[in-house]
């Protein structure tokens, strides 16, 4: 699904040069659920932003879905983000003035999708997260857990190939956090690749693989347990 060869990211100011990521070599298969852990300031979020094409990088090569993204211009990157990537943020990042329906609609609008198809997708995504009855509510009228589920629905509505979650349970209590994690696993079971940044070792352990970043370097990459993927493919085939 994605492959990084010697990818480095440096933040420069007039006085300081900060190596946020150093020579990252990594490959993530389609359908994986990968957790990213590391201490604060280690480069986890930078890694996630870079993966989601929200950050550029100085060195190396990055292949997203087989396409080398280095040198792509803004319109091409936006299109990939819109069609293939879903984002879930710690602080939900819902637009406060828009009702739930329109929040979920945002990525579909930028895809130029017709109204009928949009409605179908939005209703399906919201039913997946169990919030069909809240279409007309504003984000502030929902609890934190519900807001995060709306954010997941927004990511799902675009039917992305990969879902990037940055501390998705960071602002939630344990019950809601568990619900959100269950939801993410359900989504992954349906074939969507998930990369999740987390501080929580317990949540990280629920992923198929854990990537540990320390001081901008990927220090530990657990080997992929391909059995999990094979098992799921078999389950999906049987289901079909």
């Amino acid at each position: 699904m994605l492959k990084m060869n010697d990818v480095s990211k440096i933040y420069r100011t007039e006085l300081v040069e900060t190596h946020a990521l150093r020579n990252v070599n990594l490959e993530i298969q389609e359908g994986e659920f990968v957790s990213v852990t590391g201490p604060s300031g280690s480069g986890k979020t930078t890694f996630l932003n870079l993966t989601g094409l929200l950050e550029s990088f100085e060195h190396g090569e990055y292949f997203f879905d087989g396409q080398n993204v280095r040198g792509l211009h803004d319109a091409q990157l936006s299109r990939i983000r819109n069609e293939k990537i879903g984002f879930v943020f710690q602080s939900f990042n819902l637009i406060p003035d828009l009702p739930i329906y329109e929040n979920v609609e945002v990525p579909l609008r930028y895809r130029g999708m017709g109204a009928k198809e949009r409605r179908g997708r939005i209703e399906h995504a919201l039913s997946t997260v169990g919030l069909t009855s809240r279409l007309g509510h504003l984000p502030t009228q929902l609890s934190g857990g519900q807001q995060q589920r709306v954010a997941i629905a927004r990511a799902l509505a675009g039917e992305p190939r990969i879902l990037l979650a940055d501390e998705p349970t960071g602002n939630l209590d344990s019950v809601m956090a568990r619900q959100v994690m269950d939801l993410l696993h359900e989504i992954n079971d349906n074939g969507t690749t998930i990369i999740m940044v987390t501080h929580d070792p317990e949540l990280a352990s629920r992923a198929q693989r854990n990537i540990r970043i320390f001081d901008g370097e990927v220090s530990v990459v657990q080997p992929l347990n391909t059995d999990v993927l094979v098992d799921r493919e078999e389950k999906q085939s049987a289901h079909v």
């Binding site: 989601g52 929200l54 936006s78 983000r81 819109n82 710690q90 609008r109 675009g158």
Partner: protein
């Protein structure tokens, strides 16, 4: 996508509403003052007779003695003598038509003793004046060509006078008194709205002539001459007498006081006409007239006059400069307000970019928002300039000690569709211009930084 962007732009106006109002107010107030002054300048430059402004030519011939500096510009020169006017009228020239005129002041009264007499500005000329200057008739017509010389006691009056003295009825054939003389009304002009009284070279935006009579009749009545007289040498001492008393002396003098017009429709006819003028001056020189070697004459059209007269000078020019500067200050303020408004939306914009909005899409959305602010600013600005123009008009009326009626100068302070279109173009164009930097800033922000967890 455009519809969606338009929806977002419209909604965005209601987010941080106070900044939106401030922005619209900044554009509106600046534009209001700018358009007030611009409209006055625009109206001042309007050609009074459309395309004909290029074909109606005013003739000046310098008949002074050799003393004194030569005239270099038309506005320095005098009119022409009555003798020259008559000679040119009888000459075979390249002009489609020619006419001459002079001005008088006369007390007009009617047989109705209940109506107070009126002191009027009168125009003395020839019968073709009305056709040449596009003066429209409501009733009757001009006097005949024969009456130009026969002093037939007839007059054309303005619609205003017809309304006053004859209650708006067709007054052709009715009588009026010009001073102690009686004339018969032969024609009534319709509303003759010209933005400046260009034909008598006063360029007065408010004044109006109410009585029109022939040159021969005015001479017979010995009506007072209210034109500027260029009398030199021996004639200079008699100028006062010429103006009020000795009209035959004036007619035969070398005083330049008659305003002479020629209608010339092509470059060739202008050239040919000029040659005719030069021949006339040379021929007259042989009789001891036009003693100056340079034989200066000016043949200038109405458009040239308006170009000079319509320029803002002195207080008006200062006002124009101040209004431009004030608008610039308002726009600079608008940049700050827009920056504040757009910066407050940086997180939402970053989110939209993360979800797939291209930079160009975000840019379009904000350009639309700025354009809507420009339109709203334009509406506010137009409303303010409407009020401003009424204010300026009233100042002029007040400054004239109410000798000028507000409706007579209303045209000089009127917004028309051209100015309304101009106002919107300026409002939208300038807000987009000042919006470019804030929009560029907001489109080039780093989404990743904005979206970091708080």
């Amino acid at each position: 996508m455009l519809t969606y962007n338009l929806q977002l732009a419209w909604r965005s106006l209601f987010q941080r509403r106070s900044l939106t109002i401030l922005m619209i107010a900044a554009v509106g107030i600046g534009l209001g003052i700018l358009m007030t002054v611009r409209t006055m300048a625009y109206q001042a430059r309007q050609l009074p007779v459309g395309e004909k402004s290029y074909s109606l030519h005013f003739l000046q011939m310098d008949g002074r003695s050799v003393e004194g500096d030569a005239f270099e510009q038309w506005f320095e020169g005098d009119a022409i003598t009555h003798r020259d006017a008559r000679m040119l009228m009888n000459a075979d020239t390249a002009a489609r038509q020619q006419t001459y005129l002079w001005k008088t002041d006369v007390i007009v009264s009617s047989e109705d003793r209940d109506l107070l007499p009126r002191r009027s500005s009168g125009l003395v000329g020839l019968s073709n004046f009305f056709e040449m200057f596009d003066a429209p008739f409501l009733y009757g017509s001009a006097w005949s060509e024969e009456a130009n010389d026969s002093a037939e006691p007839v007059a054309v009056i303005s619609k205003d006078y017809n309304d006053y003295f004859f209650a708006g009825e067709n007054s052709v054939g009715r009588r009026l008194n010009l001073g102690t003389h009686t004339v018969t009304v032969i024609g009534v002009l319709d509303d003759w709205r010209i933005n400046r009284r260009y034909y008598d070279m006063t360029f007065d935006p408010a004044g109006r002539d109410d009585v029109f009579i022939s040159d021969s009749l005015a001479q017979e009545f010995n009506l007072v001459r209210t034109v500027q007289m260029g009398c030199y040498g021996g004639d200079a001492d008699q100028a006062g007498d010429f103006a009020t008393n000795d009209i035959q002396g004036l007619v035969n003098s070398e005083c330049a006081w008659v305003l002479f017009w020629a209608e010339l429709n092509s470059a060739e006819s202008i050239q040919e006409y000029k040659q005719g003028i030069e021949r006339h001056m040379s021929a007259q020189q042989e009789f001891g007239r036009f003693p100056r070697e340079d034989q200066t004459y000016f043949l200038t059209n109405v458009a040239e006059h308006i170009e000079l007269v319509g320029q803002f000078r002195g207080r008006q020019a200062f006002l124009q400069l101040m209004s431009n500067l004030f608008f610039a200050v308002c726009l600079i303020n608008a940049i700050g307000i827009l920056l504040a408004k757009f910066t407050s939306k940086a997180r939402e914009i970053s989110l939209r970019r993360a979800l797939g909005a291209k930079k160009t899409t975000i840019m379009t959305q904000h350009l639309l928002e700025v354009a809507i602010i420009g339109i709203l600013g334009g509406i506010v600005g137009l409303a303010l300039s409407y009020v401003g123009l009424i204010g300026m008009r009233n100042i002029v009326v007040y400054s004239s000690d109410y000798t000028i009626a507000a409706q007579d100068i209303a045209h000089a302070f009127r917004l028309n569709w051209v100015m309304i279109g101009n106002a919107f173009l300026i409002a939208i164009g300038s807000t987009i211009l000042v919006g470019l930097y804030p929009i560029w800033r907001v489109c080039n922000g780093k989404p990743a930084q904005q979206l970091k967890a708080q």
